[in-house]
């Protein structure tokens, strides 16, 4: 069957009432958590992970994907109306989005953000659909050295692009990898660093850790602050139509943002955040009126909002085609699939074509649902923001405690959640980024297994990582990135000299 026959079959499956319901639930929850500062897609997915035991893997995949890309839509709403980003991916939207609100163009900004997100979301699904099968075919040629290079390079890139100090990011990666070594040795099955505690024999799960670091830390931060409910600008439906000029100016940024976002989405770490900032920088550079940026330029909303949505779609590609989650939410999608006894990776599309194509079709449908939900019901989502923090934050903390216990019925997980939350609160205050820590806990066991298998294969010869062409090519990626960065900064320094 060709791509379009497969996609048609996927649509037939995705339009079945059960799948439609989970897509709707996913995008609605995603929009909601996107709107609420403090509760990200990661927190929502962690809380719902326990419920996926009773679901089919297709339903959990559709639900979690909906939450992830739905949160990208929701995040822009608070950025535009309140100057408070619901998600880190919408930080850059505050700059021009909120200025548009102050000029009385809030409705138009919301419309452009939603329309751009829809176009980008749809294009990124197209990219996923076209690139996932060939990448999976290529990955069939991968052995342990290639996978080691890929995961190790992923962690290296993560440290270079994470926010704040690079040394701190490397420290977080090393700590995460060490934490991942607690429990059963992935090669021999021997116990390590468990000190006879039975509950530690399965290792430290990244889910309570991620919930603690992202959920409880946020609760601690918000409760410690003095502000409570926010004052919200109201938007009427008839005010939502942009002018012809605004539409014309947003078309180019939307398409450029979609392409840039999809490819940046493939890299490990906070790709959606980087995509939105990159798109903003590109639009400012290409604009005929760069002086308008920062004062309500429509391109400053259309580009970044398209880029972060496209990046959300792109992030699925390494997971589906290679079985490697390069972003914390993707690790939760992986966990949900594993609960359903499905292992994504190079053979996933061949073994489960129905699931893959249903998932792709559901993302198209989900994007249409998001457009329908976010434009007319923006007022409803925004009204959630009026819930006082003194009510909302205790609910979030309690849901984290219940959700984390529900996943594994383990008291150790409750301790991990509490300690990660407290640790995260301190780390954030000292300027440490959590994303490298969480991803290192997820990727750590893979890095170790592939490293040791490669050494077994080569009888201890480390040149195996450089003598195989695919592995070498992967290892050269960070070298190429550093070279490009040095060249760009060199050119920038030379420009003023040349006048």
């Amino acid at each position: 069957m060709g791509v379009f026959d497969n996609l048609l079959a996927g649509f037939v499956q995705a339009l079945n009432p059960g799948n439609l319901l989970f897509a709707f639930l996913g995008v609605t929850l995603g929009s909601l958590v996107g709107v609420l500062p403090g509760i990200g897609p990661l927190g929502a997915m962690s809380l719902l992970l326990g419920t996926t035991f009773g679901m089919s893997p297709t339903h959990s995949l559709i639900l979690f994907a909906g939450i992830y890309y739905g949160s990208m839509y929701g995040g822009s709403t608070t950025s535009i109306l309140l100057n408070v980003p619901g998600e880190s991916t919408s930080v850059v939207t505050c700059i021009d989005g909120y200025k548009m609100t102050l000029k009385g163009r809030a409705g138009a900004a919301l419309f452009i953000a939603a329309a751009g997100s829809f176009v980008a979301g749809t294009l990124s699904v197209l990219g996923l659909m076209l690139f996932a099968p060939p990448l999976a075919d290529l990955a069939l040629k991968f052995g342990p050295p290639e996978y080691f290079s890929l995961t190790a390079v992923g962690l290296i890139i993560l440290t270079t692009i994470s926010s704040g100090s690079k040394v701190k990011a490397v420290l977080m990666v090393l700590l995460g990898v060490l934490i991942s070594t607690i429990g059963m040795d992935p090669v021999t099955g021997d116990q390590r660093f468990t000190f006879g505690i039975l509950s530690l024999s399965q290792g430290i799960d990244f889910i309570p850790m991620a919930m603690g670091l992202f959920g409880i830390t946020e609760v601690l931060n918000i409760i410690s602050q003095k502000s409570d409910a926010a004052s919200v600008h109201s938007v009427r439906l008839r005010e939502m139509l942009p002018t012809r000029e605004e539409i014309r100016r947003s078309i180019g940024p939307t398409f450029r943002g979609s392409i840039v976002g999809f490819f940046i989405g493939l890299i490990p770490g906070p790709a959606a955040v980087i995509a939105s900032f990159t798109s903003y920088a590109i639009e400012k550079r290409l604009s005929k009126h760069p002086e308008e940026f920062g004062h309500g330029a429509v391109e400053g909303v259309a580009g970044p909002e398209s880029a972060n949505n496209a990046a959300a779609g792109g992030a699925f590609l390494p997971l589906i085609a290679l079985g490697i989650p390069f972003a914390p939410p993707m690790a939760l999608v992986l966990a949900a699939l594993l609960i359903g006894k499905i292992m994504p990776g190079p053979t996933f599309i061949q073994e489960h074509p129905d699931m893959f194509w249903t998932f792709i079709a559901s993302m198209y449908i989900g994007n249409v649902m998001l457009l329908a939900l976010n434009l007319p019901l923006v007022g409803l989502f925004v009204s959630v923001l009026r819930t006082p923090a003194r009510i909302l934050m205790p609910i979030v903390a309690i849901l984290c405690l219940i959700g984390v216990y529900a996943v594994n019925s383990s008291s150790v997980d409750v301790w991990v959640l509490a300690l990660s939350g407290i640790g995260g609160y301190v780390l954030r205050a000292k300027g440490y980024d959590f994303a490298p820590l969480v991803l290192a806990v997820v990727l750590g066991p893979k890095v170790e297994v592939y490293f040791r298998q490669s050494l077994f294969m080569s009888a201890g010869d480390l040149s195996i990582f450089f003598s195989r062409p695919i592995s070498l090519a992967i290892l050269l990626i960070p070298v190429a990135l550093i070279t490009v960065r040095l060249l760009v900064s060199g050119i920038r320094k030379l420009k003023p000299l040349g006048g």
Binding site: F193, P394, I395, I398, V414
Partner: protein, 154 residues
């Protein structure tokens, strides 16, 4: 960059701990790496990097000490009564949920968190805690079938 010694020092201690315990497992060789091989490599990396970072921070702090006003401006305490309250509630929940029972603990923790977050009276907070426990029980245990500790109610 934040001038702080506590985190690199903590990481240095953690690194030494892993380094010490990794040595108790089979290290093996490059040809046949053992259980302790990979952790010892990573722990050595953590010790080295945390050590260098700690030394650099120590030097910059020594420099800052000579200009106290700047240092005072750079430091801002994250610790207040509310943060301590939330942390105490989380630790109490983790320690007591198996003994008291999950839903009793949820009710107590919710009431405490509501009070800490600013709900004006204990009466309202306890009511909120009770309602949360009942709804959570119905959703998670009754409807979704998850199993939680019953504690002394067993």
């Amino acid at each position: 960059m934040e001038q702080d010694r506590s985190i690199p020092l903590f990481l240095l201690i953690i690194g030494f701990g892993f380094l010490f315990y990794s040595g108790k497992y089979t290290i093996g060789s490059l040809t046949n790496p053992g259980v302790g091989f990979f952790p010892i490599l990573i722990a050595a990396g953590l010790v080295g990097l945390a050590g260098v970072f700690l030394w650099q921070t120590h030097r910059s702090l020594a420099f800052l000490r000579r200009s106290p006003p700047k240092r005072a401006a750079a430091e801002e305490s994250i610790w207040g009564g509310k943060a301590y309250g939330v942390i105490a509630t989380l630790i109490a929940f983790a320690a007591l949920h198996a003994v008291l029972g999950f839903w009793v603990s949820v009710s107590g923790a919710m009431a405490a968190l509501l009070r800490i977050a600013g709900v004006p009276s204990w009466k309202r907070a306890l009511l909120g805690g009770g309602i949360t426990a009942v709804i959570s029980y119905l959703v998670f245990e009754y409807y979704l079938g998850a199993i939680f500790p019953e504690g002394f109610l067993r």
